[in-house]
Symmetry: C2
Subunit: 461 residues, 2 copies
């Protein structure tokens, strides 16, 4: 199962979508004390927040700008405009014709990408430190000076429509994921696909793009993160000379979206398709995010996901895949990095001719076991260690660190929150893990998506 609420436009030298999605769990990517005190966080006069994460082991630097505007900020009926604008940001500005920025990055052997998420949109390049100021010049330029003409709108709209056709319409798993999300969120815009609904994407026009750009793309609604072989002093000087010249935008109101009502029902969403070969399911609950949770609850949910279904040592994997042999996959994850309450998910797929209901029943039984009897000290300690170890890998990659800190700040967190995360995780008790399982994983309130092969050619149920 995938986490679809991100749209990444794979371009030359780009990271894969899967890699980006794994990066997004910043909770698993930070925390080793080493070097954390070096991180700087300051504001330019025009309101741009700058985070610098020095790492001098390799002579590269990741330069990333995140705008605090994603698909959940789109006007109703205009779904897809955040992602469409992400595409349009690669068109020309008053100063640079379309493609110049791309060419520049390619010529110096850099990598670049951009992606759109429910809560933010990010643009980044990984280059040699010598090229950093050039990146800043280009990025600061397109922050306000993008030229959006009808001549660029229509062909690029064809591109995003084709992207949706090939990535979503042609993939039953993605189609199911969209409708599962739309069912899970009864009121919150997280229920809308990041790429947009096809019929609304078809209607996106120049005015929509300009409206979104003018409203949200400004230094006081952005975060600049620079990670890698550079000092804070250098970044500050360069940022002041480039981004510092961009005028502050209008003040934006607080980011208040329609929130979820109390949910009272258990729901299923079934997609039966002849292209499916292995039956699978994904069961989700609305759960608080790091920003909205009571202290400790989000950390406990991360550890619960790790104990229950984080990789091959987890309860779900060991019980369903290894011991019972009924599943080819089984796991759990928690999406904690979001502005508003998000989701906790368990998933699995059948092995051989086995029924998917048996797989779901078995993992549900593991959930109930934790609710009833909790987790052991030993497995909690191991889960904490696994999270910490996974972050050691993450810290080797400046791009990962940039997205970790950038995503946290763009969803209402602070640099300090990220720095103290490891400490807060270590403080979680077995009682807290059991408590969040009981509180949030109520089997009468979940939404389960089933992806099933079509057994025969009839369209009956």
């Amino acid at each position: 199962m995938t986490r679809t609420r991100m749209e990444s436009c794979i371009r030359a030298f780009a990271l894969s979508l899967a890699a980006l999605q794994s990066l997004i769990t910043w909770e698993a990517a930070v925390g080793a004390p080493l070097g954390q005190s070096d991180i700087s966080d300051f504001l330019l006069n025009n309101g741009l927040e700058v985070v610098v994460i020095p790492d001098h082991r390799v002579p590269i630097v990741t330069h990333m700008v995140l705008y605090k505007a994603g698909s959940a900020d789109e006007p109703p009926g205009n779904s897809g405009i955040a992602h469409f604008l992400e595409h349009l940001m690669f068109k020309g500005t008053k100063r640079h014709s379309a493609g110049t920025f791309d060419t520049q990055v390619a010529e110096i052997g850099g990598e670049e990408n951009a992606f759109t998420w429910s809560d933010y949109t990010a643009y980044f390049q990984t280059v040699t430190p010598a090229a950093l100021e050039t990146m800043m010049e280009f990025e600061a330029d397109r922050m306000r000076n993008l030229v959006l003409t009808d001549a660029v709108i229509a062909p690029e709209r064809d591109v995003i429509l084709e992207e949706r056709r090939s990535r979503v319409e042609a993939d039953p798993e993605e189609l199911l994921e969209e409708e599962t999300q739309a069912t899970l969120y009864q009121n919150h815009p997280y229920g809308r696909p990041v790429i947009g609904w096809m019929h609304e994407m078809e209607g996106l026009n120049r005015a929509d793009a300009v409206g979104f750009y003018d409203r949200y793309y400004a230094p006081n609604n952005a975060v600049l993160v620079v990670a890698g072989d550079v000092s804070a002093a250098t970044v500050r000087k360069m940022a002041e000379e480039t981004y510092g010249a961009v005028p502050r935008g209008s003040d934006l109101p607080p980011r208040i979206r329609p929130q979820e009502p109390e949910q009272n029902t258990k729901r299923t969403v079934v997609l039966t398709d002849s292209r499916v070969t292995v039956p699978s399911f994904e069961e989700s609950w609305v759960a608080p995010s790091y920003r909205t949770a009571k202290p400790g609850d989000a950390e406990a949910l991360d550890l619960l996901a790790e104990v229950l279904g984080g990789g091959m040592r987890s309860r779900a994997y060991q019980e369903l895949v290894v011991k019972q042999g009924i599943a080819s996959s089984a796991g759990a994850y928690f999406q904690g990095t979001s502005l508003d309450p998000s989701s906790f998910t368990i998933y699995g797929s059948s092995r051989g001719e086995g029924k998917i209901e048996a797989v779901k029943d078995a993992i549900d039984a593991e959930v109930r076991k934790i609710i009833r009897a909790g987790v052991s000290d030993v497995e909690l300690t191991r889960a904490k260690s696994r999270l910490v170890r996974s972050m050691i890998f993450a810290r080797d990659n400046p791009s990962t660190m940039a997205i970790v800190y950038g995503a946290a700040v763009a969803t209402g967190g602070t640099v300090k929150d990220v720095q103290e995360w490891q400490e807060r995780v270590r403080a979680v008790t077995t009682t807290q893990v059991q408590a969040v399982a009981e509180k949030y994983l109520n089997s009468d309130r979940s939404v389960t998506g089933y992806l099933l092969p079509r057994e025969n050619t009839s369209s009956g149920d």
Copy 2:
């Protein structure tokens, strides 16, 4: 099962909610040629549309104003504001203190009520013809002169919160209906409850109410319907003297709401509650409304609902309740009177110890039978006759006629559409009925709500 997307505030002498809901199916309420040519439809200079339906058999008259603004027009995050404003319309104006209008209606032995629907909000009184002009004076007065102070807002908000608690939170059937609607509509605001989500109702304030009132309550966004013992000339003269003095409001943009994407999944919504005694289900599909359907499709859907599940002579009732004896109720209905695509629904409840799945399977089988083999000429003819007969009753009641014409005009239809409806229904062929069943009742795209008793005290699944 009920149709919940309407909120009616029962006051003195009011019609019951159930009665109002049955009235809403105007397709079933008109069509007898008798007297239809007498209906007048004209505009005042300020844009108010006036429909007069003379009926001199009884010396009463129904006076109704509908505003083209309902819950589907609410700003996201402000659910319930249309219905809250409906309550607030009974507070004072610059000219009349709170309660004066109510008292006046009561003193002359009249009836009055108001209700909020997804697409409109309606206010009406049934009085003697001598009191008509007084009703117009009061109604025209509160169209623009309502006084909304914080002193009236807070107590009335407590009233709507209590209304939600007693009508929705205390009723598992209503809770299920809300979440079934929220699941059926993945993008359209018809997925929001008319009364509003509790957490959003709690936040409704004076500014929200004033904003909605100022935007939508104006003669050029309203329809006045007068039905009963009065002539068009008299109504025109009185309307010009009363409503004619209300200044035109700003022009409103077209009523374009976020539309449904193509749906690809089969969904279920389950509410298990110890207060439930008889298991029941309700299966719905998104279906076009009279305003959005291709010519003939909405009429065919109305007839399909009649053949399949319109009362005791329908296939579902005869097969499930009478013949098989497995259901205590079974039926179908089509909600055709709406601005945007709405829904077609089948429903049923168990009898004795029978499984609800068996009831659903049996009515699904009836649907498949129609898709496969169509309906007979005889049953289609009988269904047409039943619709026509039901309208004979409807025409005896001026209130019914007012809501029939008012609802049609407030959802984008015309007086002529209503007048010609019977003729269009008579023209529907068996082939068309089979075609709409096949086109819209795809079992891979439905949403089924199950209301189940809790078997024991465990909270497991």
